[in-house]
Subunit: 243 residues, 2 copies
DNA sequence: AAATAACCCGACAAAACGTCGAAAAAAATT
DNA sequence: AATTTTTTTCGACGTTTTGTCGGGTTATTT
């Protein structure tokens, strides 16, 4: 649980000190990080502690079962049993399997953004920030492989994701990459003249491909090394690209 | 229906004329193309024409319904109704919805390989072949958008694909890219010293990302142009990479 | 044209999903 | 601390979807 309750304070500095130093106090960057780490949780309307515990049990159980069987083969009854509750209780918390599946990855995703936010402090160049971002995203999937399988292999590419709340967090994922690419161009680390949207697709597509292959086949063996290499390689290519 | 019945003749040239010209008559390349265009169809044991028609109706209906509702929300009964048959008849052909969903993309995929095989004749450099391959893959998804949604957004990344027959065709997809990269290195078009597996991930990941984004959001508007640009850009980067 | 094989469907069984009202537990009120 | 009220849980039950089976229909073979 990194960073915890930083929610409010970064936002209301909007009208406060408008620093003019170009490098260090990057306003838009802070705002973006604040945004992605504070997407509101759905349905926080439970009163008793017992409920929070039950909800957590459901989430843990669902993650295990989904990762093991895939969403389509998983049964609500199995998840409820694994969570130690009755199926009807589960329906008190989520109105359907789909609802559960598409809410589930949210908390992990926010955790990832929080971890990144904490780790990126001190990095100055856009290139460093970008490399860290991509490396950390792969490492996060490795450390939370059950979540990774669910998110990268079932949720992210799904047609259904565009109808859910999760969509915003997914969009944030690309938004950060795009922001850093633009920043790199402004600071002269990357050549100008390219569509940053396309460049972001290139970067994310390449790294995600490595992650997905690892999640499916556990190859290459060392994901941390492979993804960092890939990220570094592609970033270098982009930096050296003739405009 | 491109190329139609070229199945057999290319195979029995295995023991025939072993041409030594390095460029034109590339044996391994022909063999690979032959392999990917002739993956055996599952369950060809139907005798009557009536059955072939019924099976085709099922496939067409399933493609429409899956693309419209997503696999998980689609109902067998809907597909059967759309195909103009009873549900129990559908079960004569496919033992489950999953079975149907994972067999469905096969024929289109083979068609794509066949179209590519026909179009690549005459291209000599590995770079040209690779560019054509990636461009055509995007264009094929655009022309068969229903199939594209099913294949790229639901089947390919799925955990379940690794258990199905379709896996082989999916593997073929990457194998061709890898082959062409290796060929490019041999012919000096690309610098040596890189893992061709990694380079293939980079290429496919980048282009697929463009395709997926288009399938989900219809952006960028012109997929043909965007994917060709992306492919060309990445191939150029790889060609210019310092070893 | 009779026999055999292939194909199709209605009726039924099984499994999974989802709802509801009442019981149990916790919190609030008196 | 007994009560009322609110929150949470669960078993019983209805609905939807999946999957099976035997017999009837159509095509093919002899």
């Amino acid at each position: 649980m990194p960073l915890s309750t930083r929610g409010i304070d970064a936002q209301d500095c909007n009208d406060a000190a408008p620093e003019d130093r170009a490098e260090a106090g990057d306003h838009a960057w802070d705002t973006l990080l604040e945004l992605v780490t504070s997407r509101p949780k759905r349905a926080p309307d439970r009163k008793q502690n017992r409920s929070k515990r039950t909800e957590q049990q459901i989430l843990n159980a669902a993650l295990r079962v989904f990762a093991r069987d895939g969403i389509s083969r998983s049964r609500i009854a199995d998840i409820a049993a694994e969570a130690g509750i009755s199926t009807s209780t589960l329906y008190e918390y989520y109105k359907s399997k789909e609802d559960l599946a598409y809410d589930l990855p949210n908390s992990h995703l926010v955790s990832f953004f929080q971890e990144y936010r904490a780790a990126v402090v001190g990095k100055t160049s856009a290139r460093e920030k970008l490399l860290l971002y991509l490396s950390m995203s792969a490492d996060f999937a490795r450390e939370h492989a059950d979540w990774g399988r669910l998110f990268y292999l079932e949720i992210w590419p799904s047609v259904l994701v565009s109808e859910t709340e999760l969509r915003h967090s997914v969009d944030d994922f690309a938004r950060i990459a795009r922001y850093l690419i633009d920043e790199g161009v402004r600071q002269g680390e990357f050549p100008a003249g390219r569509n940053s949207y396309e460049t972001a697709s290139l970067l994310l597509g390449a790294v995600n491909q490595v992650i997905i292959t690892w999640l499916l086949y556990r190859r290459p063996r060392n994901l941390t090394k492979a993804s960092a290499e890939m990220a570094d390689r592609v970033i270098t290519m982009i930096a050296n690209e003739r405009p």
